[in-house]
């Protein structure tokens, strides 16, 4: 059966929810069917072949195993005491979750808990257009997810930790996690979106996150992708930032067989700002592809992007950064940097900036670098007694510190730092047949 037909057939089996949602799902499926699976002749998919995903007959993820808190702590450390919201195989797991008790300041709810909620109508799937066919697939198939609302003027001190646990079984399974974050005017919050695996097995995560940053609101969104090294992972984040609002998006990817992240931010009001920071680490035969798109639609907007990658083995990285400055968006300031460290001769990175500047009074800069570990630095460390392996690790931690320093959650920053070293080690250890 061809992949599109496969999904059409599975669509008949889903619970569509309220009429408005059912209609939206149908529309998304139709768009998916019409577009089909893109080929690598399409520029957007030149390096990442969607056929690698489409060739598997993915089944909807079954209800996951019972998980206790200790197991959760293991795979998604650090888990924060007060507000963790857990989904296993795409479904909300209330027993593991401690929704924040913050009265009306912060609302977190499972999308499935009340899908007929008229609050959601006109909001879900309303931020921008699907960037990839997979985002349409998510809209058609998502079973559950998180809806986060931060009330006007409220500052939420504790980070909110959303954990998406992927627990593969015997069949290849697909999960479609969905997140909607709405920060009302003047509010502020940090949301961690954490994708983890419980055990290995054939799995495909297809996540979509929509973020609405209200006037003068501030959202820090930290996406951590640390699933099993053999998993497939596609994600899309679409955000709209209103006047004087600010979005800081961190996309931290720790290497799966295939990872593709699309991040699209529209600076939709004067003085809106976004920082998009990314870290990607891959080894073995892994592929990590980051596509970003910043749309300066209004004047005085600021965007800064910094993506840093470490690639080992035969890993391949892609960074494609598109910046559009519309004719009205005068006094925009956009910067984009992609810096990469290649640890082996066979690792590769393809970097492509795409700047479309249609206003004249703007500041715009971009650059990319590719290098190896600095030999003089290595020798300096070794000359003090630090063993070669440890010296390498230290330099890698140094390389990523520019990213980890930017995380407001210190305990997470430390864990990320360790993960860099651990995951590169893991990727080296994947047996040939599992690749």
């Amino acid at each position: 059966m061809n992949p599109v037909e496969h999904w059409q057939e599975r669509f008949a089996g889903i619970e569509p929810g309220a009429p408005w949602l059912a209609a939206r799902r149908q529309k998304a499926l139709d768009a998916f069917v019409e577009a089909g699976i893109p080929s690598t002749r399409v520029e957007e998919w030149r390096y990442t072949n969607p056929a690698r995903i489409a060739k598997t007959a993915w089944e909807p993820a079954p209800v996951g195993p019972e998980l206790d808190r200790a197991a959760l702590e293991q795979i998604s450390y650090p888990v924060f005491a007060c507000s963790v919201f857990v989904f296993v195989n795409g479904r909300y797991a209330p027993a593991l979750s401690t929704p924040p008790a913050l009265g009306g300041h912060l609302g977190v709810s499972s999308l499935a808990a009340d899908p007929s909620d008229e609050n959601l109508e006109g909001r879900l799937a309303s931020v921008g257009e699907a960037a990839t066919p997979f985002a349409n697939l998510n809209t058609a198939f998502f079973e559950d997810g998180a809806h986060v609302r931060i009330a006007t003027g409220k500052h939420i001190e504790e980070p909110l930790h959303l954990v998406f646990v992927n627990a593969p079984g015997d069949d290849p399974i697909a999960a479609h996690p969905r997140v909607l974050i709405e920060a009302e005017p003047g509010s502020q919050a940090t949301v961690i979106e954490d994708h983890v695996s419980l055990g290995a097995g054939s799995s495909f995560t297809n996540a979509v996150t929509e973020i609405v940053v209200g006037e003068n609101a501030e959202v820090e969104w930290i996406k951590v992708q640390r699933e099993d090294p053999t998993a497939l992972h596609v994600s899309e984040m679409r955000a709209r930032v209103a006047r004087d609002g600010r979005l800081t998006a961190h996309t931290l990817s720790f290497g799966t067989a295939l990872t593709r992240n699309d991040g699209r931010v529209r600076l939709d009001g004067a003085g809106a700002a976004c920082a998009m920071n990314g870290l990607f680490v891959a080894g073995g035969d892994q592929l990590v592809d980051n596509h970003t798109w910043v749309d300066h639609a209004e004047p005085h907007g600021t965007s800064s992007e910094l993506y840093k990658g470490i690639l080992d083995g035969r890993a391949r990285g892609v960074f494609n950064g598109r910046v559009v400055v519309r004719p009205d968006a005068q006094k925009s300031d956009a910067s984009q940097q992609n810096r990469n460290l290649l640890l082996s001769r066979d690792a590769e990175i393809a970097t492509q900036p795409q700047l479309e500047i249609r206003a004249d009074d703007v500041k715009c800069s971009h650059g990319s670098t590719v290098g190896q570990l600095d030999q003089d630095s290595l020798f300096y460390l070794r000359s003090r007694g630090v063993p070669l392996d440890e010296a390498r690790d230290l330099l890698m931690r140094g390389f990523v510190s520019e990213i980890t320093r930017g995380l407001s959650v210190e305990a997470l920053a430390e864990r990320i730092d360790d993960l860099v070293v651990e995951r590169l080690g893991m990727a080296r250890d994947i047996p040939e047949e599992a690749r």
């Binding site: 630095s377 020798f379 070794r382 000359s383 003090r384 063993p387 070669l388 330099l395 931690r397 520019e402």
Partner: protein
């Protein structure tokens, strides 16, 4: 302590050391002077094991062991320390964390217990007093944005923390003001013990007023062309190298 015989080394396709002999006993201080480009730093690099310098001949015995067989980190663990002429800046790696890793690696090799962050902080604070270094520098990235003098003090601090038995100082005095020079020299003198030796590479007599050498050597054209007592340094200061190196360099 150190016995160098007929040492030859090349880097970047050039032969630099061309049969160098030097012997240092325990507890001794030796100064090596010589014109720019004569091979002084190359000698220091060979002794500490820089991979980009290729040894093409000769031997180096350190405490009776073949030094050239050891990796840079093994040499450090065995007590060889090089204060770099140009210390390297390492963005993103904290100076504190780096020094703790270094000390713990050396302590492990010596069969001593590992120091935790608190123990290390206490130790490093003590040593910092000795070199009058600002504690803020410990929390910055290794040498990043340090002034020339701060970098050199950082080298001396590392030496004080690691307590090497063979300290090689490659122009540690360059770029230091008079006070800093005295402090650096005091750092070296505090380290001195009958079982520890110091090799001082310098262009200036004034450092040798503070760290008084037992022997002074002149390196030119990749060889030691003259050796003498501390008075040789005074003579060089007065007359330059011409009278020695004429005819001696290759």
């Amino acid at each position: 302590m150190l016995e160098i015989n007929g040492l030859r080394a090349r880097a970047g396709g050039t032969d630099i050391l061309q049969g160098l002999d030097l012997t240092m006993g325990p507890g001794e201080v030796h100064a090596v002077m010589g014109p720019n480009g004569s091979g002084k730093s190359t000698l220091a690099n060979v002794l500490s094991g820089r991979p980009s310098v290729e040894v093409t001949g000769g031997s180096v015995l350190y405490k009776g062991k073949n030094l050239l067989d050891l990796s840079p980190e093994e040499r450090a663990c065995e007590g060889v320390f090089l204060a770099f002429q140009y210390p390297v800046e390492i963005p993103g790696v904290s100076n504190m964390y780096f020094m703790k890793s270094a000390l713990n690696a050396v302590r492990k090799h010596r069969g001593e217990s590992q120091l935790d962050a608190m123990d290390f902080l206490q130790l490093v604070r003590e040593k910092m007093k000795l070199v009058e270094m600002d504690e803020a520098l410990m929390n910055r990235s290794v040498n990043e944005g340090f002034s020339g003098g701060e970098k050199k003090r950082n080298e001396i601090l590392q030496m004080a923390v690691l307590e090497p038995s063979l300290a090689i100082l490659d122009e540690t005095d360059s770029g230091l003001d008079i006070d800093a020079l005295r402090i650096a020299a005091e750092g070296v003198n505090a380290l001195r013990r009958p079982d520890r030796s110091v090799l001082v590479i310098t262009h200036y007599q004034r450092l040798l007023d503070y760290i008084v050498p037992d022997y002074v050597h002149v390196l030119a054209g990749g060889r030691i062309v003259r050796s003498g007592g501390k008075d040789l340094a005074l003579e060089l200061e007065e007359k330059g190298y011409g009278w020695i190196t004429d005819g001696a360099s290759a």
